[in-house]
Structures are given as structure tokens and as C-alpha cells.
Amino acid sequence: MALGGYAGRYLEVDLTSGRWVVRELPGRWAVEYIGGTGFAARYLWDHVGPGVDPLSPENVLVVATGPATGSAAPMSGRFVIASKAPLTGIWGESHAGGHFGPALKFAGYDLVAVTGRSESPVYLWIDDDSVEIRDASDLWGKTTTETFSAIREELGDPEVQAAVIGPAGERLVRFANVMADTCDAAGRTGMGAVMGSKNLKAVAVRGSRGVEPASDEFYDVVNGLYEKATRGEWSRIADETIRGYGTPYLIDVMTQIGRLPTKNHYTGLFDRAEDINATALERYRISKKSCFNCFLQCKYVHYVPSGRYAGTLTCGPEYEALVALGSNVMVGNLEAILHYNRLCNDYGMDVITAGKIVSWLMEIYERGLVSEDDLGGIRPVWGDEEVVETLIHAMARREGIGDLLAEGGLRAAKKIGRGTERYLIHVKGLEASAQDGRSHKSIGLAHAVNVRGADHLRGLCTYDELPWAVKYAYERFGEEEARKMVVDDRLDPRGKGYLTWLTENFYSVVDSIITCKYGTMWPMIYYYDDFAPMLRTLTGLEELGDERRLRIAGERIYMLRRAFNAREGVGRSQDTLNPRFTEEPMPEGPGRGQVVELDVMLPEYYEYRGLDLETGWPKREKLIQLGLGDVAEELAGMGRLAE
């Protein structure tokens, strides 16, 4: 298959037998599923059925790139890791930037699928056409940072890229992450535990094959996008915000709209926000980093020179860590947060879930639902820096109460009982990321219906979120559409079902191409009318150069993941939110008095998504319309299709 952009082949590895095979990319995949998340969704639908335990050898770990990966397309240096998720038992997917994704593409693979389980620790070494399963006994137990260095030393090449797990992944902590290039985390849903269950310490890769576009015009398209990102209005906005400060800049923005999760999502304002914002963080900045081929460049490295946490050197924290390990546990000491960030990264553990489990413990302890004795002598009091650190170590090492907590918040809450589940802020078993639907209605819905659980990255809409972004919605969609989404009012639930459906479909395309979502919102250089010419000139496929067909592909990719969850038995009853958001009014700030009117937004969303309002199962006609007839048949056989 001589398509531009794609490698045209994928690698299947069975760690049980130690065999591997390279296959040609199926003919229609590019047109129907684009790449990245789309490829992963198709592959996992075909290979991982409902009986498969996420931590069993039968589960498959998919690492995928998209057609843009490795090309000069702005902000395209990413990859996706997908699998059935150990944390939630449903669709699991996590993306990361850095330099690993492009290296995999340069080695000549659009996708790598790993199944089985090795008897002893191994790592996969992909060096262009050569594939090797190497002994990793000496790497086992090492932190993620140590693992990178050791692999590079062993292979004698300091530019070898790797995606690795740390001690948390080895110990099957259900929210263990996968780290790439030392600080780029594929953080959510426990992909690191899948690797750990396979005894797979790392995937190391080096490539020299290159990515060739179908047409030279691709370079002109790229240069146009480059102009948009680095000159004029968008560049100025980027410099003053994300490019200049990274995602920590969001601390101030979220304070402004009253959506900064604080005290286990009790409120949206943190009285020490100024101690943990981008300005405060700048004092510790030592350098700036960038993912491959990025025009935004938002990563900063920080160092704590003195005091209790002296010597802490860490890339990040990002906004999510500042909340999960800061405001949401009431810690306002930035140096402590920098330290937690480094610990979690070194252990290879999702900062969001780790932090949200700590805040949950703090709340149930305060409410008297658990005692010091239940927690092995730990007294989780709001804002106690030492307790946060102790719990991070305990979870990553599965020591004491940490062994239970390492199973994830929902399993821990079910085991403890006593009504503690009521205070775990999660959807479908995934602890919520740092948003609050009460101050921004569409994200409430997006959390509830997201295919991987309570998380922003499958459907967060920024037009109605950021005070300055509304006008761009009018420019892009026109007045009629913008009004239909009620994009001017983030507290109005009307139109948000439509808006979220639209955003989810678009992000499905973004996650399949793959580019960074910041390129679609901040600076807003990418939309369908940018992707279409880029993909046409890159791949040479007219289908991908057609905006209408791209939109349908986005809907198809989203729906296939929804169907994956339906096959697991997850439907309407799990498209829900914690009563904290639906029953307890926001106590203060711009969202004061608000709750998430999920009952208003959900039916509108279901209508667009083509789901049955009662069961949440996909409708046959919608699946047929999206060319997912085989999926419909399988769901029908299980009684999980709405006729």
C-alpha cells in the first residue's frame, strides 16, 4: 500500500510464544479509521472480547501512530496506547507527546499490538525492520527515569526512544501509566498495568525510514499552519498563555470561571491558588522543552533548590497534577507538589487518579467513615503534605492500605463500604480530571458520557469554557449554530448535548490523525477545513480530504468505542455523575448555586449520538449509517443493540 504519511504496516507480538509478525495495513483502515485511536478501536474491537480480563495474557496492548505522526504537521509528535483498561474494565486509551510516537513511525509501523505474557521481564526493541524481545530482568524495579537511561546505555544509543513502566506498572497498580521520553505520560486508565501484566517493561524504538507525503503541496499546507501558529493573533495569545507558561496557566483561568476543583471537588475556588499558579511556578523554572515538531512548546522543567524538597527535578507539573496533588487535597505548597509530581512520574503512576484517591480518603476520614485504624495508622487530614507523600509511596509500592488503594478508587470504596463510594468523584471507575460541570455545564456532560470515564480529553469544549473563545465559535460555526449550542453561556445546559457530540466527533479525528488537542483550541489552528487539505496532500486519499467524510469518520471512531463499552455491558446507567455535581450546588464563585442538569443535556446528546435513551445501547440505524454493520450484528446477538 503506497499511501503517503502511513507506514503501511503493523507489528503483532505474542509475548507468550515470543513470536512476532509484520502485516500489511488492511486496505480500508486508513479511509474508515484514519489512524491512532481509530486504528486502536478497530483492532481492539476485533481482538478483545467481553470475556477478557484486562490483566490477562489475552488482553492486547495497542500502541499506535497516525498518518501525521513524524511528518512536519504542527503538533503531531504524539502516540496512543489503548487496551481494555485495568482500572475500569472498559475502553482504555491514553495519549502522550514527546518523541516516541514519531520514532515508531520512522521505524515503519502504524501500530504495534502486543498480546500474551512473557514468563520473565522483557522489553521490546524495535530497530527499523529488526524486532527483538530482550531480557529486562535488570530493569525490573527501576524507576521510569532510571529505565530510560539503562535502556539507552544498554543499546548504546542516547537517542533511542522508549515507552516504559515504573514500579507501579510492575506491581499492577491499576492506574499505572506509561512514560515516554522521561516526562511524557500516557497517564490514564492504567495502561502501565497492562504492560506490567505482560511482564513488558518497555517498548524501545529507533527508526530511519522517514515519512513521505503523497504530494509536495503538503509542505505548503504545513507552512500555512505554521504561519497561523507562530505569527499574528494566535501566536500572541499562545505566547501570553500556554506557550509562555504551559498548562499551569490554567490555574488562573479556572479560578476566573470558578472551576478549579478544590477539596475533593467540593468547590471551584482554592484560597491558595496564587501559591500554585504559573507565576509561582516560574520561580522554579530551569528550562523549556517541547514535543517533537510542536509549534506551541508548552513543557517546562522545574527544580527545587532548597528546603525540605531540595533537589527535586521534574518536568511539569501540568495543570492536572497541580489540582489533583494541590488544590484538591488542599496542599498549597508548590515545592511539595513538584515533589509529588516527580514521585508519581518515577513510579509511573497517573497523577490524577493518585491524587483523587487521596482527596477521597481525606473526605471520608473527615466524615468519620474510616478511622486511622482502618488506614494502618495514616490520618489523612486536608492539606497534610506528609500524608500525601506517604500515600503516594504506599499506593505505588502496594504497601499497607496502599495495596487496596492501588486497585483504584472504586474497588477500594466497594471493599470498604460504609457509604464511602458516595464521595469518590468518578465516572465508570475513572476518577475525575480537574473540571467541574457545575461551573461549566458541557464538561459535566462530557465527563458523564466519555468512553473512558470522567475525563476531559474526549469531549471538553473550550468555546463555552474560555471567556475569550466565544467569538471564535461564532466565526467558525456562524451565528445560527453558535446560538444552537448556547455557546455564550457556560452555565446554560441547553444545546450542550449537541456541542459535546460535535466536540467528541472532532476529537476522535484529532486523536486518530494524531495531533495535540491544544492545536484545536489554543491556538485554534486546526479544524476540519484545515485537516482536510492536510490529509489529502499527506496521504493522497481523497476520502480523507473530504470534510464531510472526515466528520463521519470521527463519528464512526467514537461510536465504535461506545460499542466496545456496550459489549462490556456498560450503558445508560453508567453515563452518570457523582451527586456532588448533580445535587450539591456549587458553594461559591461564578458557578455559585449551580448543579449539573444532566437530565436536560443527556437526552439531547443521546439523540445526536444515536443511543437509546433508556438503555444507552447504540441504535442499529446509526451503526449501519456509519458502516459498522458487523458491530451492530455482534451487539444484536448480545441483546445490546437498540432496534
Binding site: A72, P102, G210, E212, C291, N293, C315
Partner: protein, 168 residues
């Protein structure tokens, strides 16, 4: 005579995105392939240190002196060290003697490759977001370099400042 130009590297600004590598390889080989780039960024990812390495187009170039077949020469007018591939035997002596790591071996052709300023419009400079690469006349490079040094040694500026009386 055309102005002598130079490609200036400011590593303190580099973020390691390697866009320079990608566009360099595309311009020269029609393929986005950092392994075939004439400029390469050496990175320390843990501390965030990034240094782009590229040919400095030396006046008295070690590669030219070391080349056993005379395949390397210097074009004084354009200030460029150039490879005559019809004479090159692929021995890679130039790669090993270059004090800047500015010479590389193309993993496809197994021949040395080096920066040629892209015919006067260096793609790396054009696409460098943080401004770590500059393509400027030698005269401007001199001034810029001096200002850059001053940024690192503020005492020089302070010493030179006139002592203004305190505002009462």
C-alpha cells in the same frame, strides 16, 4: 559581492522540538526523516538541555583538510563548505574530524551530508519557533553575539551605566 551569511545557533533558546531536523530532511531528501537531517539536536531530556549541532562552515575547515580525495572544498564567496560527491569515497573521515559534529553520515546513501544553507533559505531557521537558529549576515551575527554575551554578564552593563543621582 553578496553579503556573507552565517547560521547562528543559540542553544539557550532551543526547546528540542527537532522541527529543524524534520524540515531539513524534507528539503534535501523529500522525506521527513531526522536520521537524514543535516542539523541534529543533542538533548538532555531530564534537565531540558538542547543543543542543535550543524556545520559552522569553517574558514580553515578540518574536514576539507582531512578529506583524502579533495571532495570537500570551500566556496569563499558564499561562505560554504561543499561536498563534491563525484569525488567522495564515503570514508567518513570528515565526520570524525569535525569538531562540531556538523558532518553526518546519511543512513540511506552511507555518504556524508552537511548543511548547504538550503540555497540561501535555510528551512531550519524558517521553522524554528523559539528563535534558536538565525540566518544573518556575518556583520549582524557579530553584534548579536556580543549582545548575547552581555545578557549573561550583566555586570558589564552595570559598570558602563552612568551613575545617576538618587531621586529625592
Amino acid at each position: 559581492m553578496a553579503k556573507l551569511m552565517t547560521l547562528m545557533v543559540l542553544p539557550e533558546r532551543c526547546t528540542g522540538c527537532r522541527t529543524c531536523e524534520n524540515v531539513c530532511s524534507y528539503y534535501h531528501e523529500g522525506s521527513f526523516n531526522p536520521a537524514r537531517s543535516r542539523i541534529q539536536v543533542v538533548r538532555d531530556v531530564i534537565r531540558g538541555v538542547n543543543v542543535p549541532l550543524v556545520c559552522q562552515q569553517c574558514e580553515d575547515a578540518p574536514c576539507v583538510a582531512a578529506c583524502p580525495t579533495g571532495a570537500l572544498s570551500r566556496d569563499a564567496e558564499r561562505g560554504l563548505v561543499e561536498i563534491d560527491y563525484s569525488r567522495c569515497i564515503g570514508c567518513k573521515t570528515c565526520v570524525s574530524v569535525c569538531p562540531f559534529g556538523g558532518m553526518s553520515t546519511d543512513p540511506v546513501t552511507n555518504r556524508p551530508i552537511k548543511c548547504d544553507f538550503c540555497g540561501g533559505d535555510p528551512q531550519c531557521v524558517k521553522h524554528c519557533v523559539p528563535g534558536a537558529l538565525l540566518y544573518v549576515p556575518v556583520t549582524a551575527a557579530n553584534v548579536l553575539q556580543k549582545r548575547r554575551v552581555l545578557e549573561r554578564i550583566p555586570q558589564f552593563v552595570e559598570v558602563a551605566l552612568p551613575k545617576l543621582p538618587e531621586v529625592g
